[in-house]
């Protein structure tokens, strides 16, 4: 065998490039507790679960994180809560919950003792707007119009009208 020059060189030596999509459409069973939680989201109902010491866990867990006991007492929660932590996402990627800059936030629903991770549609941190992203921001669920029993049934959280800044005298509502 000998090395041969290409008798028919291609019209172009431009290197090829193209999209390559690798996708695994996993179907996962939810189990009874997460299944109940997702059923609730589909019906615009937020559910937590009662854990040891009377603590309410949301998102709910099948087993108590402290005692490992099986949990089964669902607790109806309002769709409002408070931001306990956040991270600003200045450059949303395709298929993230929002296509404008937003915060990933931990939100503790009113009446719950743990927090749920989701997107928060609020002005950037540090801006003068009283609804700007910050720890302690009061928020509410923005429900998705089409709901199917998935975490995306919560489109995102949005800021509620914020209470007046606490005054020095009365210590404010959360004092």
């Amino acid at each position: 065998m000998t090395t041969v020059p290409d008798p028919e060189p291609p019209a172009t030596d431009e290197v090829l490039s193209g999209p390559l999509i690798v996708e695994f459409p996993f179907t996962r069973s939810t189990g009874p507790v997460i299944g109940a939680f997702l059923t609730g989201l589909r019906e615009r109902v937020v559910l937590g679960i009662r854990g040891s010491g009377g603590r309410v866990l949301c998102p709910p867990a099948e087993y108590d994180p402290v005692t490992a006991a099986e949990l089964s007492e669902l607790v109806r929660l309002p769709d409002t809560g408070t931001v306990t932590a956040w991270a600003w996402n200045a450059h949303p990627r395709p298929q993230q919950p929002l296509d404008t800059p937003f915060a990933w936030a931990l939100v503790r629903f009113d009446g719950a003792d743990t927090a749920l991770l989701h997107a928060l549609d609020a002005p950037p941190p540090g801006s003068a707007d009283p609804r700007a992203t910050r720890t302690g921001l009061r928020v509410r669920v923005r429900w998705a119009e089409q709901r199917s029993g998935a975490i995306t049934d919560i489109a995102c959280f949005e800021a509620l009208p914020q209470p007046e800044p606490r005054s020095e005298q009365d210590g404010g509502p959360n004092a």
Binding site: V15, L16, P32, T39, V45, E62, G149
Partner: protein, 185 residues
């Protein structure tokens, strides 16, 4: 553990709701893929029904598809050559699960074909015989895909694609002497 129906029965708004038991969670990765200069040459040549390999100038091993570099020596594979459309099966498997979007009936055979003159196997489907008649050492040749690699091209060349090789089919020759492929399995 309570069932989901028992759990939901305690929530008035949800007592009659159809319970959610499954979620579909796609894990999706979107790449912008480039096969590189050497494989681009290989793919363009395939549309013209030609098998372009590259040879390492140090160890003389011949690679197809070429990656532009010899994985053993780390040398650029600067020697380009054309291989014949015939080769030997060095290993194979039977595929029993249909991949989505693949227009081939299961079960079918997928094999490494060591093209004559090459030192690595080319992956390809084996057709033209019952899948349980495929064996190591069998002599095969390329069957080209008329759409992706037209015999008499007219107008714009088709988009370069591995689909140019439809499959390999037995040549009918006697099996290859194992000494010819033993080192390259």
């Amino acid at each position: 553990m309570k069932t989901i129906a028992e759990l939901l029965a305690a929530v008035p708004e949800l007592a009659d709701a159809e319970p959610v038991t499954r979620v579909v969670v796609p894990a999706r990765l979107e790449y912008s893929y480039s096969p590189g200069a050497a494989q681009t040459r290989f793919l363009r040549a395939l549309t013209r029904r030609r098998l372009v390999a590259e040879r390492c100038p140090v160890c003389t091993r011949v690679y197809i598809p070429p990656r532009g570099v010899c994985p053993t020596c780390g040398q650029a594979t600067t020697d380009r050559l054309e291989l014949p459309p015939t080769g030997t099966i060095t290993t194979f498997c039977i595929v029993n699960i249909a991949a989505r979007g693949l227009d081939v009936e299961v079960p079918y055979c997928y094999a490494y074909v060591l093209l004559d003159g090459a030192h690595v196997g080319l992956h390809a489907r084996i057709g033209g015989l019952p899948h349980d008649r495929v064996h190591v050492g069998q002599r095969v040749r390329v069957v080209w895909n008329e759409q992706a690699a037209p015999e008499h091209p007219e107008g714009e060349p088709p988009a370069p694609s591995l689909a140019a090789i439809s499959h390999f089919t037995p040549t009918g020759e006697p099996d290859a002497d194992p000494e010819t492929y033993r080192r390259w399995m």
